[in-house]
């Protein structure tokens, strides 16, 4: 009896002490990871490259998706753009492969839809709050006080409010929920981009939106993940395809909470930068801008040489937590420069 007891105790102790040894197949598999490191293992891989297919938000779609609304003409000849935006706060999104976070969303995604209008248009937004908390929409821009989305709280469970204002000024602006505690409402994902085009259109370009954001998944008021358009490392393993000698225009908005600054560094190139996009003359020609909270602007550049070029936060902590991507520059079939080869690479 005592012997059996002792054996039972020994077995249970050894179960606690020694790491479990798998008797499953011990075949080594090889993985090439996001950092370039090679991992050989009989087990599983932990890396943002793998299983990213399961992420339900599509950064590729978001990148070049602009919502112009339901367009109609007003009696005075002005254009009316109508949008419906629904807020929710009970969704769980896989914000990085395997990591699930309760996001609060405008129209089901973080960031919310990119709203686009031309200066002078009337923007009318039917806002429905289907969440469990109060939410609002607060646009950066010029409008009457009642349309500011601060004091006109929209109740949960289907509360409605219609925001209406004249689009302006020209530029790129954020919109976000402005209910207290504000940091919580923004950090959970209630934000998006509002672009106001000038009446005389900007020159044709390959246009894209990049919202620089982060997620604090363990609620210690420090971000665990950073990204351009929500999904860490996404554009690193799904490079953004562009052509040589084509104007690229990036509307960039910094929505990172908790960290005072963010920045944007482009490889193998420099860009013209238009702070807030309000001026037609660029403020600088650089490969590095620094952005504070909700600071935003327009970047314009074109690549001469094809290849893979990184873009990332030069606050390297952010890039090592996901805010990094690649432009895959392809030879433009319309006007390529033939026979240019520099350097050697083997």
């Amino acid at each position: 009896m005592i012997i059996i007891l002792v054996i039972a105790v020994m077995v249970s102790i050894s179960y606690f002490i020694f790491p479990s040894i798998s008797d499953a197949e011990l075949e080594q598999k090889i993985f090439v990871t996001h950092s370039g490191a090679i991992v050989k293992t009989t087990g599983e891989i932990l890396d943002p490259i793998y299983s990213v297919q399961t992420v339900d938000f599509d950064p590729d779609k978001f990148l070049r998706e602009f919502n112009y609304g339901r367009v109609s003409m007003l009696e005075d000849g002005r254009t009316l753009r109508e949008f419906t935006i629904i807020a929710e706060d009970d969704k769980t999104m896989e914000i990085s492969p395997g990591i699930f976070y309760n996001v609060w969303t405008f129209n089901g995604t973080v960031p919310g839809p990119t709203i686009r209008a031309t200066e002078g248009d009337i923007v009318r937004i039917k806002f429905i709050n289907n969440g469990n908390k109060q939410h609002t929409m607060h646009f950066h821009g010029i409008h009457v006080a009642e349309m500011d989305g601060v004091f006109e709280l929209v109740g949960p469970g289907g509360g409605q409010f219609t925001y209406e204002f004249e689009a302006g000024p020209v530029g790129v602006h954020p919109y976000h929920c402005h209910v207290m505690p504000l940091e919580e409402h923004i950090a959970h994902g209630l934000y998006g981009v509002f672009i106001v085009d000038p009446k005389e259109k900007r020159s044709p370009a390959d246009e894209m939106v990049m919202v620089l954001n982060g997620f604090d998944t363990d609620f210690d008021t420090e971000n665990n993940f950073y990204a351009a358009n929500s999904i860490p490392f996404y554009y690193e393993h799904h490079p953004i395809q562009i052509n040589t000698n084509q104007l690229i225009r990036v509307y960039v908005v910094n929505m990172v909470e908790f960290d005072p600054i963010n920045n944007f560094h482009l490889h193998g190139n420099l860009y013209y930068y238009y702070p807030t996009g309000t001026n037609t003359v660029p403020s600088t020609y650089t490969d590095m801008i620094t952005l504070s909270q909700t600071e935003r602007g327009i970047m314009e550049f074109q690549y001469t040489y094809p290849g893979k070029y990184l873009f990332h936060a030069h606050k390297v902590e952010f890039s090592e937590k996901g805010w990094v991507g690649i432009f895959l520059v392809k030879e433009n079939p319309e006007n390529s420069i033939q026979g240019v080869k520099y350097g050697t690479w083997e």
């Binding site: 606690f16 293992t41 932990l46 890396d47 363990d218 993940f225």
Partner: protein, 392 residues
């Protein structure tokens, strides 16, 4: 009659089993239908990083699910920067299950590193290592190195302590009791010291779900009772001849101290293995001074018997050599759980030896604890140990 005894036996068994049956019913009921009813509060995931090893171009973390719910490990980081990693055997951990997370990383010698593990709900758990050092691999050289450390810490000081034997032999009864009492003081100190060390290991490395303090208390008392029982048998058998009794007592002390030194060796080996201690000459001197008193503890009762050099050396080895084995195990296969268990066993053993010596003194001394020599001895023993412990 026979039938009657059978039914009463059946009744006895039934009365013993029925409460168990009700306990099982209760458990089934709680886990079953009424599960939702009692589901108040939130169960949070908890992962403990038990061990971090630095090998060539790789950091290896042993992680254990120490919470109440199954978890999925989905990400690893070094210094709060996301790193690709492998997890073996797989990323799903049930309660108390462990996995090895292997992170390819070109780490730098003696720099601090924090390894983080993130679970599927985004919670991050971390562990810091103050200075990275190459994980020890069992090699002839290292085995020898640990053997030397163990010899310096265990065997040599104990042997030196035994050299007091001729001195103790020549002194008067009162003085002899004084020295025996010193031994009691030394042992009490060592026992408390081991508990303190086990507590420290528990706080630093052991997940809360193991109930470290209660584990220590349980093992200390079990060890004490086990040795008390077998020790008494040993002494009773020795009662036949008057000369064997001191030997039996000496042997008990040697075994107790041996168990204690095994725990001490484990701690030293682990400290070297985990890169937490640079083993300096100074530290060795401290341990040596500290442990010389252990030899004295064995010598004191032996002084009453016939001089037996062979037996004395044997006891020195029993008391000292476990330090070597401890250092090997601690250095090559460290586990906080085993470490705590052995430290606690050592502590219980030491306390039992202290009790045995007190019993011995009581037989020799009419006034026992009231006598000045005994009181002064215990006090002196504690003080000696405290002062030499500062050197370690």
């Amino acid at each position: 009659m026979e039938l009657g005894s059978k039914t009463s036996k059946g009744k006895l068994v039934a009365s013993g089993v029925i409460p168990f049956a009700f306990v099982i019913l209760l458990i089934v009921y709680l886990f079953g239908s009424s599960g939702d009813l009692l589901d108040v509060g939130v169960s949070l995931p908890e992962v403990t990083i038990e061990k971090i090893a630095f090998v060539d171009g790789e950091i290896q973390a042993t992680v254990r699910n120490t919470g109440h719910i199954p978890v999925e490990v989905v990400m690893a980081d070094v210094n709060d920067r996301i790193q690709p990693a492998a997890i073996e055997p797989d990323r799903f951990l049930n309660r108390f299950e462990t996995a090895l997370v292997r992170i390819p990383f070109e780490w730098n010698e003696s720099e601090p590193y924090t390894v983080g593990i993130t679970t599927e709900d985004g919670t991050r758990f971390e562990k810091e290592i103050k200075a990275a050092t190459q994980a020890l691999k069992p090699s002839g050289e290292l085995v020898g190195y640990f053997a030397i450390i163990g010899t310096y810490v265990g065997i040599i000081p104990v042997m030196i302590g035994l050299l007091w034997l001729p001195f103790i032999k020549r002194i008067s009864k009162a003085k002899y009791n004084f020295f025996l009492a010193i031994t009691v003081g030394l042992l009490l100190f060592l026992g408390i010291d081991a508990i303190e060390e086990a507590t420290e290991v528990s706080a630093k490395f052991l997940a809360g779900s193991f109930n470290g303090i209660l584990l220590i208390a349980t093992v200390v008392i079990l060890s004490f009772l086990g040795l008390y029982y077998s020790g008494n048998k040993l002494v009773k058998r020795a009662d036949a001849s008057p000369y064997a009794k001191p030997v039996a007592l000496g042997l008990m002390i040697a075994i107790g101290i041996g168990l204690h030194n095994f725990g001490e060796g484990l701690a030293i080996g682990a400290a070297v293995g985990l890169g937490e201690v640079a083993f300096s000459t100074f530290l060795l001197v401290g341990f040596a001074l500290h442990n010389t008193s252990e030899g004295f503890a064995i010598a004191a009762p032996m002084a009453k018997g016939k001089p037996m050099i062979g037996k004395l050396v044997g006891m020195g080895l029993i008391a000292g050599a476990p330090a070597i084995f401890g250092a090997w195990i601690g250095g090559f296969a460290y586990s906080p759980f085993t470490s705590i268990v052995f430290l606690s066993i050592g502590s219980g053993a030491i306390f039992q030896v202290a009790v045995a010596i007190l019993g011995w003194i009581r037989k020799e001394d009419d006034k026992f604890l009231a006598s000045a020599s005994v009181v002064a001895g215990i006090a002196a023993g504690m003080l000696i140990m405290y002062i030499t412990s500062i050197l370690v």
